[in-house]
Amino acid sequence: MSKTIKLKKGFNINLAGKAEQKIADDVRPDTYALKPTDFHGMTRPKLSVAVGDNVKAGSPVLYDKLSPEIHYTAPVSGEIVEINRGAKRKILEIKILADKEVSYESFDKYSVSDLKGLSREDAQAQMMKSGVWPNIVQRPFGIVADPADTPKSIFVSTFDTHPLAPDYGFTLQGQEQYFNAGVAVLKKFTSGDVNVNIDGKSEVSSVFSSVEGASVNKVSGPHPAGNVGIQIHHIDPIGKGQIVWTLKPQGVVEIGKLFLEGIYDASRVVAVAGSEVTKPHYYKTYLGACVDKFLANNLKQDHVRVISGNVLTGEKIAGNGYIGYYDQQVSVIPEGDYHEMLGWIKPSGRLSFHRAFGLFSFLSPKKEHVMDSNTRGEERAFVVSGVFEQVTPMDLYPTYLIKAIMAEDYEDMEGLGIFEVIEEDLALCEFVDVSKHDIQEILRTGINLIKES
């Protein structure tokens, strides 16, 4: 059943420095890294390799001691050059120095017609072994899916409404057959639908419009309309004890390629964008790429914040840091560590969801903003009401949910819908919050409490 969802609530953050639709493939980072911290469910990461080992794309590098059958594999072939550990020897990064030419581990190859006969067990075994499995993220909790589960449905959001987000129709152009094959494989895992959700407002790329065997839903509205969690809420909501799997379109394509080509191909097109990037456009590279080459001679100034992902849900990384597993975007904004005289009352055109005294950004909704990382105020007690609800297009009360988490009230957390949201769904609340709370961090604390209860 295909549905059309029109959302009204939300807020588009219009930033300067959008990526031009041009792909550069001559910039090749030397190193690539896997970061265990990208996976929320991974509590006890263990290494399958040591420094000096040679790996191929698809060779196991990392696993979680609690589910060792899921391999986290190398995105490129090369040599393991460094294992970066933090406090208590926690593994932070496993760095691979890439070969000039990527060589691949080989896996079973199928034709499109063979795929029909493929059993769930065989598909699952190949996916877990090759390294594509972590692309499947389970709701609730936003963790890597448990292979023992049968989800009630699977969701793929084919568009991203975050600030400066890449256009997946563009980054995946020409990969129709892999996307289709990926959907065909995923169908084996659920008794329900594979939902492919497309942007109801703009023209849909042929990559997604030609998909077969999936139910295609149109979703339109301001951000967070592109968030898969919001879409699930309106199309097939999660109740207690129910499980839904979600993937990004990139993950679906990787799965399709694994079965049609017999290789784990982690190549991808990433957007390097933001107001401080001289020439924002796309780069063809591999998962976990080091960003230094993309930013060399490409920054307007030095005092910047480099973010793996977008400015709402991303993570600050160093100028020679690595793009996260689930990210296909690098954002660069000015660092905001400065004082401002009477900044709390000075009239300003800075972007704000609010229209309080002296905030004029609502008058020019089309303006592209340059925003830095300054918090624009101090943390205060919750005072204002009703704002979170205005940017959360769900039948859910974020303020009450956050308060329930702070009070560690398990019953209320469940009742108020903690199973339906992960960080990205409430990221806008954190942005608009007058009292400057870390909403996403609080939410993750709550999710961890519920998960372990």
Partner: protein
């Protein structure tokens, strides 16, 4: 500017952990963040950019919305004094007299409340909250200009300590702080805040012939006492006849709307409250739902009483309720206090509507308290969490139902 910043940076270590004045950190923080917005940046994970708004700006928006009421109240306090004593004076003279009466009250309210805030911030180690910018302005506007200053100080201290800090500080309070201050004075020192004699500053002068300091609500409440009420006069006629000898048209519906009549400093003028309401609604700082539903509730209840009237007060046209006394001021500035109001959108409709209804019930059916809005809002403050409980409970039930089908 740079000098100031350098001085602050130099002093800061003294107030930080381990510094000599560690205890006074939040006092320092309040001053520092007043001069300069902080240089803190977003954390490594989560949002990397933040909305340009902060609590200080939001609270200042409310203070700005209150300014028309304050300025009008200053003029009106002087003006009423001139009218009552029969003196003639130009606008400036009236305004200056009003300023003499009103500004000390404002200063005392800010000073007393600010002191409590600072003391609690130091003891409790929490930031000094900007909410007091608003409370310190609201308290004077709800009082008569003749109120003794020591009472303003006591009431403010009482309200901040009992209504706010006792509950854990800003954001945790159940009752509206400014109204608690007023209610405290109302019950503790009724001579200075209720009755006919308190609303207008007379000074050394003598009142004009036939002068009565009764407020319109006081006159209207007289209708509930059959012994003193002249049978057959409507409340509107009474409002006219009481004042015609010394200030003709003082309580005409136009003047009640305009606001040049005796009453609390800031709450008499519906026009000025209306300007404030426009600012609050346009900026989204005050909930239009609460304001609209509050007016609707008052009007509807007035209409209902018209049908079942037993005395002349019940027969008053319902819109009179909205322009007399502090109804408009309460609906716009007190009911919309985001902390003590209902917090769900549906809850705000219910909460506002009931405030309107209860205000009119108190005014008409319980003439012991001529001004009902204060008690109605405090009463609904107490019930707001209950309203939210059911609104949020309905959301939980919807979710539960979905899980079981």
């Amino acid at each position: 500017m740079k000098f100031l910043r350098e001085q602050l940076d130099k002093q800061k270590p003294l107030f930080e952990k381990g510094g000599k004045f560690e205890k006074f950190y939040y006092l320092f923080e309040a001053n520092e963040t007043f001069l300069f917005s902080p240089d803190s940046t977003a954390g490594a994970k989560g949002v990397q950019i933040r909305d340009a708004v902060d609590l200080k700006r939001l609270m200042m928006t409310v203070v700005i919305a209150l300014l028309p009421c304050l300025l009008f109240g200053i003029w009106n306090s002087g003006h009423q004094s001139f009218v009552a004593t029969g003196k003639s004076g130009d606008f400036l003279a009236e305004f200056l007299l009003g300023a003499q009466l009103v500004l000390p009250i404002v200063i005392v309210a800010y000073a007393a409340g600010g002191l409590v805030e600072v003391v609690f911030a130091i003891i409790r180690k929490h930031p000094i909250n900007e909410g007091f910018l608003v409370t310190g302005m609201l308290i004077p506007l709800t009082l008569p200009s003749t109120i003794p200053l020591w009472q303003v100080a006591i009431a403010t201290i009482f309200a901040v300590v009992i209504a706010k800090e006792a509950f854990g500080g800003t954001g945790m309070n159940i009752l509206n702080v400014a109204l608690t201050a007023r209610a405290f004075l109302y019950f503790a020192y009724p001579q200075q805040i209720a009755g006919d004699k308190v609303w207008t500053y007379i000074g050394d002068g003598a009142t004009v012939d036939g002068y009565s300091g009764a407020t319109p609500l006081g006159i209207a409440a007289g209708a509930t006492d059959p012994k003193t009420w002249v049978e057959g006069t409507t409340v509107i006629q009474a409002l006219g006849s009481t004042t015609e000898k010394w200030a003709d048209g003082l309580y005409s519906s136009w003047n009640l709307f305009f606001g040049a009549y005796p009453g609390s400093i800031g709450s008499t003028s519906v026009i000025m409250v209306g300007i404030g309401a426009l600012i609050l609604i346009a900026t989204g700082v005050g909930s239009w739902k609460t304001i609209v539903s509050c007016f609707a509730g008052g009007w509807v209840m007035g209409l209902i009483l018209n049908q079942f009237g037993s005395n002349e007060f019940t027969q008053i046209p319902p819109h009179y309720h909205l322009i007399m006394g502090g109804f408009a001021f309460g609906a716009v500035f007190m009911a919309t206090d985001p902390v003590s109001s209902a917090q769900t959108e549906l809850g705000k409709w219910i909460y506002g509507f009931l405030i309107g209804v209860i205000t009119v019930i108190i005014r008409v059916l319980n003439p012991g308290y001529p001004e009902g809005i204060m008690l109605a809002i405090l009463f609904m403050n107490v019930f707001a969490p209950l309203i939210d409980f059911y609104v949020v409970g309905a959301n939980k039930k919807r979710r539960l139902r979905r899980a079981t089908v």
